[in-house]
């Protein structure tokens, strides 16, 4: 094969490769543009051809940082109980918060991860029951029962803090505590709930 023929052959191969890559580019870019709003018509329509690919590569995600609105302060309040089979207290119950810093500033990066995880769990009560409650049980040896409540401290609006400038922002935060959930540490987690 002469130099010219070899060059032509290389050029053809390169063009072929570019065409194949172009098809992939269109597909990939379509996925990253459409999937952030996966509930849209395009997202629903093309779901079967996009999700296996995008979910495996970790490119299917929403980009909702501080949106639609930034979240309020939130944490979990829980009590751990240690009882015998007759329900008699074996040792005093423990009252704790998760994250332990509650509504205080957290600077440690790893502790912030836990804070983010708590927010993620709080979005769905089932996650609370299947994941968080068993974990707390494991953390306290001998625990028989726990009681968890989700606490939200609503941040006062900018208008409100301006009109009540003699009061601190912390005092103006409104605390809302959910009714709470009891969990028996001896029961097996129900994975179906997730």
């Amino acid at each position: 094969m002469g130099i010219t023929e070899k060059h032509q052959s290389n050029t053809k191969a390169r063009l072929g490769l570019k065409l194949i890559l172009s098809v992939w580019i269109i597909y990939h870019v379509f996925c990253i543009v459409v999937l952030p709003d996966g509930s849209s018509f395009l997202g629903r329509y093309f779901e079967p051809v996009m999700l296996p690919y995008a979910n495996t590569l970790g490119i299917n995600t929403t980009w909702n940082f501080y949106s639609p609105d930034p979240a309020n302060t939130m944490y979990f309040s829980y009590s751990v109980h240690f009882e015998n089979d007759q329900g008699e207290e074996l040792k005093p119950s423990i009252q704790e918060y998760l994250p332990p810093e509650k509504d205080q500033i957290v600077t440690d990066s790893s502790k912030r991860r836990l804070l983010y995880a708590m927010r993620f769990l709080a979005l769905d009560p089932h996650r609370l029951q299947v994941l968080m409650a068993p974990w707390i049980c494991r953390e306290y040896e001998g625990a028989t029962r726990i009681y968890i409540s989700h606490v939200v401290e609503r941040i006062p609006s900018l208008d409100e803090v301006m009109s009540r400038e003699n009061e601190s922002v912390a005092d103006l935060r409104v605390k809302e505590k959910s009714p709470g959930m009891q969990y028996n540490c001896k029961s097996k987690p129900d994975e179906v709930l997730l």
Binding site: I25, G58, W63, P68
Partner: protein, 298 residues
């Protein structure tokens, strides 16, 4: 219709030669940031990623909402491997930042990254998600061709040109960044407080989000509103502004200001640097040589 012009444009856009120097700077910033993010959780891996911790492995995939659930769990390793693998992730990230390992190490690190991400999705920061996507794109590039410590030991320096895949993935990183910014802005338009201009007040006044007491911002409400409006406009219009030659430097400078501000106030430096890392890919190699680098490593 003559198809050669659209094809020429497409060919030029995706497959023309790119700056390996800028790519190397991107690699250094991205992998140093990822290394720091991984290091930050290194000593809590037992709590985060083992059976004894927060999430049993059997439930790891169940943790994902169905729409986002991967087909299989990459993290199929036993618990006893968790710490060594995570340590490798930390060391490997800094090694790649230093220009060691190239595509092979990059691929191994990305697989580990995805493995840990899937193992406990609830712990993921925005920086983890975005950093993982950029790492995936970087796998296709010759990211270690320039600014590598290994170049110090080479006797002769051979000028390498970017290959086809590098050109493609270099561009893909730029496109991905634009998509992230645009969607981040669009999502904010769903929120009443962003329209109201007071959204950032909720961030400043939330002790779980900031690392300093920022409630003094109540005395400068117009600053809060100005920053909120700036954030939304910047994010939505970033793709348009950064593709405009005249506005590009100004846009990127604003982005640096935004992310340094986020890093300083919210202490998510990992996220900030992951987002700023691709900025250098929008600049020319001449600009980088003139303004940023006089290294012998290149």
């Amino acid at each position: 219709m003559n198809m050669s012009k659209p094809w020429q444009w497409w060919d030029e856009f995706w497959f023309s030669s790119r700056s390996l120097l800028n790519l190397a700077i991107f690699r250094i910033i991205l992998m140093a940031a990822m290394g720091c993010l991984y290091f930050g959780r290194l000593f809590d891996v037992a709590k985060y990623y083992t059976e004894a911790g927060l999430l049993p492995k059997a439930l790891a995939l169940q943790m994902f909402p169905e729409f986002y659930r991967p087909l299989f769990l990459v993290a199929s390793w036993p618990d006893s491997w968790v710490f060594p693998l995570h340590l490798f992730l930390v060391v490997g990230s800094f090694a790649l930042a230093a220009g060691i390992g190239g595509r092979v190490l990059n691929t191994v690190l990305w697989i580990l990254h995805i493995g840990f991400l899937q193992r406990n999705y609830s712990l993921a920061f925005g920086g983890d998600l975005i950093g993982g996507i950029f790492m995936m794109c970087m796998m296709g590039t010759q990211s270690c061709a320039r600014l590598s410590v290994l170049n110090l030991f080479k006797k002769s320096t051979v000028t390498v040109k970017s290959d086809l895949l590098t050109n493609l993935f270099y561009r893909l990183i730029q496109v991905q960044l634009c998509v992230i910014y645009a969607w981040t802005g669009f999502e904010k338009l769903k929120g009443a407080s962003w329209w109201d201009g007071t959204a950032l007040w909720t961030v400043f006044a939330n002790p779980q989000m900031v690392i300093f007491d920022m409630t003094w911002m109540r005395h400068v409400p117009l600053l809060v509103v100005g920053l909120s409006i700036f954030t939304v406009l910047f994010e939505i219009y970033f793709p348009l502004m950064v593709t405009n030659q005249r506005l590009r430097k100004f846009t990127l400078m604003m982005g640096v200001g935004l992310h340094m501000g986020i890093g300083f106030l919210v202490a998510i430096w990992g996220f900030s640097f992951v987002m700023m890392a691709p900025y250098i890919l929008f600049m020319s190699e001449e600009w980088t040589n003139k303004h940023l680098l006089k290294f012998k490593l290149a």
